[in-house]
Symmetry: C2
Subunit: 285 residues, 2 copies
Amino acid sequence: MKDTIHLLVSFDENYIPPFKTMLYSIVRNHPGERFHVWLLHGGMPEAALEVVSAFCRAQGAAFDAAAVDRAWFEHAPVSKQYPQEMYYRLLAAHILPPSLSRVLYLDPDILVINSLRPLWEMDLKDCVFAAASHSCMPEVMNGVNRYRLDTDHDYYNTGVLLMDLDKARRQVVPQEIFDCVRERALQLVLPDQDVFNALYGRCTAPLDDRVFNYDARRYRTYQLKNGGACTIDWIMRSTAILHFCGKEKPWKKGRSTMLGTLYKHYMVQAQKCSQGDIAPPSSSP
Amino acid sequence: MKDTIHLLVSFDENYIPPFKTMLYSIVRNHPGERFHVWLLHGGMPEAALEVVSAFCRAQGAAFDAAAVDRAWFEHAPVSKQYPQEMYYRLLAAHILPPSLSRVLYLDPDILVINSLRPLWEMDLKDCVFAAASHSCMPEVMNGVNRYRLDTDHDYYNTGVLLMDLDKARRQVVPQEIFDCVRERALQLVLPDQDVFNALYGRCTAPLDDRVFNYDARRYRTYQLKNGGACTIDWIMRSTAILHFCGKEKPWKKGRSTMLGTLYKHYMVQAQKCSQGDIAPPSSSP
């Protein structure tokens, strides 16, 4: 019997539909696996929480929600694109129950098309986290970020974050995060990601982004960087996590891309489940 | 309790992998539905039949195979692209058990992404069959085919064929098919399809090809013909059957298209099921 995979998510009401698409894609592509979804939120209304909870139950996944005290982050830089909820993942170790020793954080703008288990079972050795830097980001941007944040590693994307919670409980000091956000408020470009890189980049194990955090905007760049090896065939077979980063979201109407089409298919199927148009899958025990 | 949907397929060993992809896409997108697969074949080896049977069982679908006497078609025009098995669908009513009153024939180069039930429950009225003509075929080709086959209807594609077997048992005369094949051998372009159109086009109800037999090569043409309305969003929501007609098959390695990417995703997942890499879905009761 495989152990349950614990997923951490954090979003506001606007992101419930993409979350559904993501969870649907996970459950559909993991027959025989069990999932437990943990939602950290900043006071989501009860009705909205019930929508998320009901969808998880229908997909055969366990669900728990924890409200984070919004006052903790009242001085953090936020905007519509970067809501407060983005920071919660950094504090997860201190909010999730002590019995939980590992969790996989996922942004809600993700589609999962192959198994998460190799990532879930990854040996983190001395590291607290595992994350990917986007290899298709221009080299100069990595340089800028190293200088800007005073780090000596590539710039990690925090959309996919495996966490050793036992180690994080010891090494992540909430006050350090608050100080970092407050002191650097003006120079933070991608706020939570900058904080993560500045404070915890050194204790993060690197993941292959082509497998566990594929930037779905960059199909051509991956192809060029990998000498043509990152074909659609390769991606469909090898990539577990497609991450639809950036402002052009795949759930928007209009033109689509090769990977965006796949997203829209899962989105429609997840919506049908929500509407009771088709019965929920019983693929999870 | 919904009634079982009976699917008819007919192919040789080479088409087992695409059949698996098709059935996998059907089962995944029809939670709560039951399927029974009927295979008409021209003497497939026992080992190959067992592969098909095991895959159907693993997907929760019932399976039966019937060997057709190959001698029946010894004078029919065949080629590698048009194997003898292509004709079997025309004779299905006389081969399938008399208790079966309706069946849905599907080519194996198909992906099913939305519910087949509206098609399955279609009222055929006085018609024996339902099929789609490809609306994105140039109008002049419809004219050529009307003249060539002496018909007064659009040219039906036989890759998706709903059959009222009770009526077909009365109206489809095997000898007429054999005569038609023999007499017109030299002028048949797409042999079985030409025979179907010439003999049974008049008793066929037209289907909307955009929903039940979308020609996956023609995305741009559908867009043009429908004033931009056949977007990827529309297709993902409304199209049930994507038909990858023609020689450029989506399972081939190399360049992909928007709909071909979706195909490859399902293909990989179906292959994993076959290899026991992931457990079979238990979504069908």
